[in-house]
Symmetry: D2
Subunit: 186 residues, 4 copies
């Protein structure tokens, strides 16, 4: 039987009606039983500044503790200007410091990018992967998840109504469960 | 005779003793006479959230106005986790919105990346360039400026003491002046 | 009146029925009068090997001469494995050597990526741009051209039948003409 | 006891005195006993052309068979024009086709980039990683291996003489051995 794994989900948008947040909720509902997805909020993290490493804001410490407690990490993000939104990059940076104490190290991870256009956030997806390589987050490779045309995938209550996307997300989160198990430490 | 061009300089680190800030000061001193470099501070910009586009924080509006008033833009940045620091990406994102009203559009630009290691921030440099392509900021191509080993380039007062780096920065900012002139609108 | 500019067009696929080649033909037909697009073939270039720089194959020399004679360069390419096809990268590499004698230097350029999928070759497009930055090819930024769904854009004779794509390509090649004029040397 | 794993080593340069080839030899000597590194030559692979998929050249088939027979893959490559050399990309492309029959699928992999400059081939390293993600090659993340200053690392016979580089390569290939074991199929 599979071990339970808690997954810290990071949503790369602060917008109330964020499509990425809706995709995150859909993934939580589609995940295999042993994978418990929970969104870790990042909107209250002040901007990273190395000068504060000695006396970090309480929100930084709380965030790092939540990542450390998780068995895996999942990023669901829009693309801003062909790259990762600042709010998500800030969470990445805060979790990675102080030097030598990264909370991300060794956690298996996965990336979903979401956009209203056709390209599905490819630029954000791969820029994020470059950071995750550096942070030693083994990141699911296949299937890739570029969710385009996000404006037409949900109903008024935010529920996913597109069958093709549901199929892709289910395949994705199932592969992620296997990947996360393979890379559990200890 | 060359026209005067005001250059908005964005420094991608909030650290008081930031090497990137020192490089920015060195560039200001080395620039041709007609190029006036001035740092535009970004540390007080709250995290971008599209929900605030209707009533933007005063700091966002002030920042956008400064970029609009500039004739060119120059980015001097460290690399965090093989990509652009969040604080710099946030400035990029804020300047780019609301949709269709980007302050960056058409401004000639250039990128300098700075690190204590050998690689000189290559990852941050090129991720930033991908955003600048999207924002229609014609970006200086050659010479590239990857400033490595930054820990050994300055004296205790923050003045640049390395001759090879001074030579590179002078060549860089001179080429940027010509590039900025070529791409002035109107 | 605008000066005539000859554009060397490089197609990144050897396939006889290549969609990229069809897009190249469409662009040639849509280009402003002063822009003369001509495909420079790259299929007969043997693989680059620095050991041959002293006595280069005749095909390498002929290719370099054609690039040198052009006033601008345009790349139309599929994506292979999320990057640039080898056949196109080989043309880039051959044109760039021997060291210090790059045929690409200073030529204004543009990139169109083409794929049957939705993403439109974003990965190839931006990997190619990174090389062009290094080669000092000032590359058109906007509009970007990611041509997706290429399997449904042409008739049996290879003529472009999709109006939206025609509109995009026309806007693109018109912007390229202005860009190429701005960056003509001398 | 560890299972023996055969590693197909791909060298991204055809130059006789290639530094990448020398690094590959050094890695073979430093590898743990159960990892057998063998260079698979790629210089005789003609340029990929999808039209030949029905009747592939014998060299393509032989190459694909060697990759399929390997338990892991290791890429050691220079950087050409801030990206992957064409000769290496061609090997990637040939191994990946015909559609649905990729020889790379699921093989654990690793990347070493090599250059005479300081940056150590960062651009080639990460462009290659983007292709490997697509090809479902789980790729070693840490330690990264950017081998700079390659002109000063070897003696006249091509033997590695730099202790710091030897230490890095040993750490790298040891981590790769563990990574390759984790990702063996079946």
């Amino acid at each position: 039987m599979s071990k339970d794994i808690s997954v810290a989900v990071i949503v790369g948008s602060l917008r109330k009606e964020s499509f990425s947040r809706k995709v995150a909720h859909a993934l939580a509902a589609l995940a295999p039983k042993n994978l418990r997805l929970e969104i870790v909020e990042i909107g209250d993290l002040s901007m990273y500044n190395q000068d504060l490493d000695g006396e970090p804001p309480a929100a930084w410490t709380a965030f790092r503790d939540k990542i450390r407690a998780a068995g895996a990490v999942l990023f669901v993000t829009p693309e801003y200007n062909r790259s990762v939104p600042a709010v998500l990059k800030n969470a990445i940076d805060i979790g990675s410091r102080p030097y030598g104490q990264s909370a991300w190290d060794g956690k298996p991870g996965a990336v979903v990018s979401v956009s209203v256009g056709n390209i599905g956030g490819f630029g954000a997806n791969h820029h994020l992967r470059q950071s995750l390589m550096f942070l030693n987050v083994p990141t699911l490779q296949q299937p890739e998840a570029y969710i385009g045309g996000a404006g037409a995938l949900f109903d008024e209550k935010g529920a996913l109504t597109n069958d093709a996307t549901r199929g892709l997300l289910e395949k994705f989160v199932t592969a992620f469960a296997a990947w996360a198990e393979t890379h559990q430490k200890g």
